[in-house]
Structures are given as C-alpha cells and as structure tokens.
C-alpha cells in the first residue's frame, strides 16, 4: 500500500518536473538571443574539438615559421591572413579556442564544486562556521580577480597552467557567496524544517533538499562565468603571464598583433574578435537562461 502511494507521488512529481522543463524549454526557444548564444557555443566547441581536422594548417598551431609568407593579408589561402612568422591565423584561432575552453573547464570544474560546497556549509550551519567561511571569501574578493591572478602567477612562473591555477584558486568565492545567500534564506523554509523533523541527516538536507533549489541560479552563473573566465585568461595572456608563445593563446596573439598595427590589422583584430564572439555566446545564453529560470544573478 505504502509503496503504491509513494509511486503515485513520484509519478506526480516527475510529471510536474517534466512540465516545468517543457515550459522552460519553450520559453528558452522563444528568445532568439539565447538560441543564437547556444548555437555559437556549440559551433565553437565543435570547431575546437575538431581543430586538428578543420584547421587548414594544423602544424601552424605550434613552432612553425615560414617567413616568406609572413603578414599576408586575408586571402582564399589564408582566410584570416598570416602572422609575423607566416603562420595561418585561422588555424591558430581554432587551436586557441581549445586553450580558452580548457581554461574554462579547469577553472569552473574546480571552482564551482568547491564554492557550492562551502556556500552550502556556511549557509546551512550559520554561526561561526558561516562567519569564518564568509570572511575568507570576502578577503579573496578584496582584490579585482585579474590583479589577484597576476599576483599569484608572478610568484610562480608565468605559464598557462599557473594562470589557470591562479584563476581557479579564487573563482570558488563567487559561488560560495551566491549559494550561501540562497541557503541562508532557504534554511528556514518549511520543507527544510519538515525534513529535519523527519530525522533527515544534515548532508541529506543540504544536498538532496536545499541544493536542487540552488541549481538554476548556479547554472546561470556558470554560463556567465564562462565568458568572464575567458576574458580574464585572455587578459593574463595579453599581459604576458598566461599562454606563452609559440602556443596559440588568443590573448597572446592579440598582444603580438598590436606590434603590427595598423598595417597588418588582421593579426590583432581576428583573434580579438574570436574572443569576443565566444564570450558573447556565453553571455547571450546566460542572459536567456536567467530569463527562463527567472533568477537574479549578477556576474
């Protein structure tokens, strides 16, 4: 008897959930901006994955020189022109996307779970636990992220991995703050009280009861974050403490290209535009998702 009843309840819940998702999808599709954003991201991710196949000159991604064809303007042979040592810029942009997306993956893959966990603990337990965690978070936020990453990278060696480490080391803070603020208001809700009365353990309440209610703001934030991480990575590379030549970092390429302005404008402009397009994609998608889930999340 009790099993059939809980089956019945499960049925209702899953029906409701399916309806909610269907409605969300419909709302998502009705916004051309978010669909375009998603399309850009899918296209870039595919292009990055297939870079070795798609790039016209895959060997140009590394330490290749052909001074005879240096700084050629865009042509059929080199749609985005060539750089100062004669490498095809289109090929390098495609491989540059790989590095940018990898940065996003590493930073968010580390930062989001860490931040969410700390936010859950701080918001749920409150008191001293909350004070200590949030104080540390505020401290890490006491500097602009770019400066913080710069300071950390400078103490190590300026390489791509250290830059990633530096950005990842401070990214969790944003998610801690977001989740903590949601949890500290959710913890007094009736469903949490009910779960407590029913004898549920704290981990169960945190992960099974409260966390699902934080998922949509986290998802929106992750999407917006992705664009921001790319910008910071590009900034670090532009300064010269991120991706090191001859690796094809997008920011590194813009930095090299500025030396050849205005005559060889394509050298700096196309890699810069490539960064812009991808970040724009993430921002459009994030903005659309924010509307779909109707949550307040700032970057």
């Amino acid at each position: 008897m009790s099993t059939s009843r809980s089956n019945f309840l499960d049925q209702i819940v899953s029906d409701q959930r399916r309806k909610l998702w269907a409605r969300a999808w419909k709302r998502f599709r009705s916004r051309p901006m978010s669909v375009i954003g998603l399309a850009i991201i899918v296209a870039v991710v595919l292009a990055a994955l297939l870079a070795p196949v798609l790039a016209p000159y895959p060997e140009h991604a590394g330490k290749y020189t052909d001074f005879a064809s240096a700084l050629e303007s865009p042509s059929l042979e080199h749609p985005l022109g060539t750089d100062h040592v004669g490498r095809d810029i289109l090929s390098r942009v495609l491989f540059g996307y790989r590095i940018s997306l990898m940065l996003v993956g590493v930073v968010l893959g580390f930062g989001v779970p860490t931040g969410v966990l700390l936010g859950l603990v701080a918001g749920y337990y409150g008191g001293w636990t909350e004070t200590i965690i949030m104080r540390i978070t505020d401290t890490a936020l006491a500097l602009p992220p770019l400066v913080m990453a710069l300071a950390i990278t400078s103490a190590l060696q300026p390489t791509l991995w250290n830059a990633m480490l530096a950005v990842a080391a401070l990214w969790w803070t944003w998610h801690t703050r977001l989740v903590q603020s949601i949890v500290s208001s959710e913890r007094n809700e009736e469903y949490v009280q009910a779960a407590k009365l029913a004898g549920a353990s704290s981990p169960h309440i945190m992960f099974k009861e409260i966390l699902p209610n934080c998922l949509s703001p986290i998802l929106v934030k992750v999407t917006l974050d992705a664009g921001f991480v790319i910008l910071i990575g590009a900034g670090l590379s532009f300064i010269g403490v991120g991706v090191q030549p001859p690796q094809p970092g997008l920011g590194t390429m813009v930095s090299q290209g500025t030396g050849y302005l205005p005559d060889s404008w394509w050298f700096a402009i196309f890699p810069g535009t490539a960064i812009f397009v991808l970040v724009m994609g993430f921002n459009m998608l994030g903005d659309g998702l924010r509307d779909v889930f109707d949550v307040e999340v700032n970057r």
């Binding site: 500097l143 770019l146 010269g240 813009v254 402009i269 724009m280």
Partner: protein, 343 residues
C-alpha cells in the same frame, strides 16, 4: 544602532579583509616555490650574488620574523626597495598612482555622463528601438575584452580618423611647462596656468578612459533602465503625473532620484574594479600609471614592488567600497531605517 556604529562595523570588516589579504600575499610571495632573490637576479647570477640578495631581503630569517617585519613595513608605509627602479616602492607608488586614479576617475565620470541618460531613455522607450539598441551595446561592452576595445579605439579614432593621440598622457612639448604639485596632470596643468596643456591632457585621456569605461557603461545603462522601470510603476509617481507635473520633472527629479540608489552601489563597485581593468588599458595606451608599473614588476619578478602594488590596490578597493557604504547608508532611507531599527 547608530550611523557611526554601522560605519564602524563596515570599517572593521574592511580592515579584517585587508589583514587577510596581507596574509595571502605574504604566503603567496614567501612560501610558494622559487627563491625571489634568484628570480630577481635571473639565471645568470652567481650563487654568492643570490645569497647576498637573499640576506639583504631578510629571507634567511624564520618565517614568523619575516611576517612581523613585513607587517611592520606595511603599517609604516615602508615596502622595501624596488629591485627594478632601485627606489623605495612607496616612492614609486606615489609617483605612479595619480595617473591611474586620474584615468579611472575620468572613466567613471564618462560612465555616469553617458550611461545613466542612455538608461533613462531606454526605460522611457521600453521595447522601442533605443531600448534594443542599448541592450545590444550592453551585450557588446561586457563581451569584448577591455584591451581589445582599446586596440579597436586606437585603430579607428587614432590611426584611421586621426582624432585622438594613441599613447601617452600629454604631448612632450608641454612637459617642461607644467609644475608637478599633485601628480594629477589635469589639476597640475590648471594650477600652472597652462590652459593649452590642460586641454592637451584631456585630449590624451579621453580615448583610454572611454575604452576603460565601456564594460561598466553597459551595466550601468541596463541597471538604470530596470530600476527606472521599477520606480516608474510606483503609486507616488502615478500620483505626481496625476497632479499634472511635467514629464521631464517626474522623470529626472522624482523617478531618477530613487532609481539611482542601486546604480550608486554598482558605480562604487565599478570604480573599484576599474583599478583591475586599468592594468590592460594602461598597457595598450602606454599610460604611465600604477598598473603598468605593476606589470613590469610582475614580469621582472620585482618582489617588493608586486607586494606593494597588490596591497595598494587592495587598500583602494576596500577604501572605495567603504566610501560607497557610507554614501548609500546616507542616501537610501531604507538602509538608514534598517540601521536605526537594529538598535
């Protein structure tokens, strides 16, 4: 709770943050692998040279002693010597900071002058083409890397149209005529009575400041728009219209004033975060500011200078946030009431 108690609490929080920051920087700079002396001297230096510099920098002492010395230095404003310029880091910072402050201040002014009116217009023509236009600009401005906007501006307004100078802070022909009273060129040129030089400084600062303001401008535009729309639907605004007050008066005096509060908070955060973005813009425009000094220090492993610049930016960041808390606490009646109710 009184207003000053609220301020004291905020200030206390800021000081704790700075204390934490000093520890983080200390850990990052001392405990992470790599001998700063070796890094500063480069691979070519002999072992004796490295050891001598290590002693000079106090790196042979136990860690807690190093931390005490470092904290004492921070509190007394003695940040040691820059390995690159061979001068006290404090002296360097005092020299480079004004150029940065000048840049970010002009930049935030541009954000306000352009961003807020556009936000108001967007709110009034909600869903009209101006509204969509500002939405696009906002999207564009948060998606373009700051340094890339700088390069685009240089290319378009500098090389192509030749409207603005591309690099530097002032034409060299004026540099002999200006006395440095404050380090802020916009003030110093006026104080020296050099009107032409003053205009020349504006001419130089406009492009980098505009490039720097782009990212925040989109944000401010959208925020002003949405809070204008929120306030516009309030009963009291309806009542004012009912009384027959002219449209512009209702919009700019009664609506904007209340809609401005959230914008003010964000403006403060923005002002502080410009310090970070200025790093890239200063590099693009060869702006002789703190950020460029900091980057040179990072690239040359100039240890004391990096610590100095990072701490300086931390202090400025916390300081600006505190000022904003102070202002918002005064301006926003809701926060003022909250403060008083908490007694």
């Amino acid at each position: 709770m009184k207003y000053w108690q609220y301020l004291a609490r905020r200030l206390g929080g800021g000081v704790i943050s700075l204390f934490g920051l000093s520890i983080i920087i200390f850990i990052v700079s001392r405990i992470l692998p790599g001998n700063p002396a070796r890094m500063a001297l480069g691979a070519m230096a002999s072992e004796e040279q490295v050891q001598e510099l290590t002693r000079e920098m106090g790196l042979t002492q136990p860690l807690w002693k190093q931390y005490l010395g470092y904290m004492q230095g921070l509190l007394t404003g003695n940040l040691g010597q820059s390995l690159e310029t061979k001068r006290a880091v404090t002296v360097d910072i005092v020299q480079y900071l004004p150029a940065t402050l000048e840049l970010i201040t002009v930049s935030i002014l541009l954000t306000i002058i352009i961003g807020i009116p556009l936000g108001v217009i967007a709110a009034q023509s909600k869903d009209g083409w101006i509204d969509h236009g500002t939405r696009l600009i906002a999207f564009f401005s948060v998606s373009v890397p700051g340094f890339f906007i700088g390069i685009l501006f240089q290319l378009i307004f500098g090389y192509l149209l030749n409207w603005f100078p591309i690099t530097g802070q002032m034409s060299s022909r004026f540099s002999g005529e200006v006395t440095h009273y404050t380090g802020f060129l916009l003030i110093d040129t006026l104080a020296s009575g050099q009107l032409l030089a003053h205009l020349n400084v504006w001419h130089h600062i406009f492009l980098p400041a505009l490039a720097l303001s782009m990212a925040g401008m989109g944000q401010i535009m959208r925020l002003t728009r949405s809070s204008m729309i929120d306030v516009k639907n309030q009963d009291y605004v309806e009542a004012e219209r009912g009384y027959g007050l002219p449209d512009w008066l209702v919009t700019y005096k009664y609506t904007l004033k209340n809609a401005f509060i959230p914008t003010l908070t964000v403006l403060g955060l923005l002002y502080a975060s410009l310090l970070g973005n200025a790093f890239l813009i200063e590099l693009v425009f060869s702006w002789p500011g703190l950020a460029r000094y900091g980057i040179t220090a990072v690239i040359n492993n100039d240890f004391n200078a990096v610590v100095g610049v990072t701490m300086m930016i931390g202090v400025a960041f916390v300081g600006i946030n505190f000022l904003i808390d102070m202002l918002v606490g005064r301006v926003d009646p809701r926060i003022r009431l909250q403060i008083e109710e908490a007694t």
